[in-house]
Symmetry: C3
Subunit: 266 residues, 3 copies
């Protein structure tokens, strides 16, 4: 079956219902919780240093998102990330707004340095900045990077041992050796707050049940994108699109993913 290795991961998500621990921003946190449930996972949000180690220890994946970063959260991210590393639990980092302020850039680099990040998922601007390319981030929006995103992502992945995901019209997923391009999705996904954060949550959910972060990331982005395509077919605007997106994620089957995923090797 076409796309079987991707749809198998999704089938596993639906079967295993993995717990996904988030330390994330307060803007899109509800969307992250609902997207995790809709795709088949069980979200938990906890960011107090008193409990993050215990919480992540029973989770299948940890998602770190710096969208409304503050000092206390950094401590919790380091604690939870360290525990996840010790227990070989995959860690997804979404470096929201890296490049927009020194505080975000520095913190993202610190997390990349002190933790073993499994998957780094950002837009072209964020990844460009962290990979040392010339790139442009305004607020939490990417204004692109200078150079070939695939080459830059591939090199950064190769040197760091991290699976790098650049979200965009075509998503790029690479571990330095393999490069997968995901072409699912719809422009309406850019018309609401939080699709980037939600994509990271779906990626964490898939990574929780797979040993291969490249396949898991591509499968997650394709699933999210297929749901977006289906939602766009009948949405009247951004918020009815958002409603439909969650509905379609919940309705999506592994078979749908197998037949609709547009993932290709570069």
């Amino acid at each position: 079956m076409k796309n079987k290795k991707f749809s198998d991961i999704f089938a596993d998500v639906r079967k295993k219902h993995p717990l996904v621990h988030h330390i994330t921003n307060y803007v899109t946190v509800n969307d992250c919780a609902n997207v995790t449930i809709s795709i088949g996972g069980a979200p938990v949000m906890a960011d107090a240093p008193e409990e993050v180690c215990e919480m992540v220890a029973v989770a299948g994946a940890l998602v770190l998102n710096i969208g409304t970063l503050n000092g206390g959260q950094i401590e919790s991210m380091i604690l939870a990330g360290g525990m996840a590393n010790d227990l070989k639990i995959p860690v997804v980092l979404d470096p929201v707004g890296a490049g927009a302020t020194k505080f975000r850039t520095r913190t993202a680099l610190r997390l990349l340095d002190e933790l073993k990040i499994t998957i780094l998922k950002g837009n072209a601007g964020e990844i460009g900045i962290l990979a040392g390319a010339e790139a442009n981030v305004r607020g939490v929006d990417s204004y692109g990077m200078i150079g070939d995103p695939v080459k830059i992502a591939r090199k950064f992945a190769d040197v760091s041992g991290i699976t790098v995901v650049i979200s965009g019209a075509t998503d790029i997923v690479t571990d330095g050796k393999r490069v997968l391009l995901v072409e699912n999705g719809h422009p309406l996904m850019g018309g609401i707050s939080g699709t980037g954060c939600m994509a990271a949550s779906v990626t964490g959910t898939f990574a929780a049940v797979s040993d291969d972060p490249v396949l898991a990331s591509a499968a997650a982005l394709a699933a999210f994108g297929v749901a977006g395509e289906r939602a766009a077919a009948y949405a009247h605007g951004p918020y009815s699109f958002k409603t439909a997106l969650f509905d379609e994620l919940a309705a999506l089957t592994p078979e749908d993913l197998a037949s609709c995923a547009k993932i290709r090797k570069q």
Copy 2:
């Protein structure tokens, strides 16, 4: 009229529009605000120690929810809860994730010890843990308790003087003497984030206008459940269900509750 004592409480909510002060998590806080408005109350969220006493003093009820607990919030909960106790304002505690981490369990027990909680509302796992039964909580999801939930809740209520509510397919409400079972609701309510938190907000809103926490809790859960049943009749998935749930809560009348509530004594 059947269910009159329940629908009368709801009629009072609609008439008195009680202010419900929440100290709650940042994941579902918007849902809690909207559910409170939809059912007829006026939500206010405030958690700074500088103002919680003053805010709760003009409220009809206080809802404490430990979903994204942190140290500062505990202080505010103790302060606001103490003021509520002094003023005989009912306090609802939703011990989200108690049992998942020692920090949550310990804090829930501390709040139960230092404050006079009026209504303790949780899932079977959370209540089981706090009642000293063997129970299982993973993240914020219940995996049940060992033993008869009604017996355990009843005994805990009897000893503590707290009205205990266990949410589930059949909700259990007991003060140790009376036991009410509420059978309204729909499985789709488990498909979105926050229904547990929302149920606590509705419970707080009803408790604000009633002297009987057992009747108020049962009426609140029945109202929430009836709205859920109606929403499920035309929802296409989890988020259109969520939209419909708020719409149906706002449209619900005391007469609807009188005719549709499925509340029985055990």
Copy 3:
């Protein structure tokens, strides 16, 4: 063309896509982000003292909202507001709940004192309190002020040099000299949490592209109100209204605003 000066500001919003930096509450923050995107701006939420100055420096406007105020946020508001003042970036203050607690009243007054606020937008109770009138605020809801709101707003604006906006069935916008009344909107806007906060975000977005805070505020409130009227035409209840409100904001054109804005001079 009727209303041309208002629709021109909206056309500029759509063309320039201004970045709007928010330091705001965690209850309605997602709504503020989505409303900003829907109307044509780019929201960024950041409240850590380490980064707010850098973030606001690249923004077109700063929105300060004290809905879930805490000590750390005040520091960040002072820092970001000071930088905005230095760079002549307009600052919108939404004093949510001023009058409900001394902490909120005191902080709103401090922000008005230490910062040059461009636009102060609140309900009648909040503005009344800050203007020194007798007014009544319960939680975050206004119970009106004693006296003529237009006179009170006008005098406060005149003395302070701030553009004052009182939201209500008829919105009042004044800089002390001019008074504009905006009569767009729909009662369903009061049936959901956050419309006041959203109005402040839209106002900030318009202020970001205009030198005239009076025209920008009136245009923003009219645009928000027209979208509300259109959404109300087909909503079934509060949450389907909310969904429709965002959809209609995104669909609204400057031509729509020109033909539907009900703005008149007093």
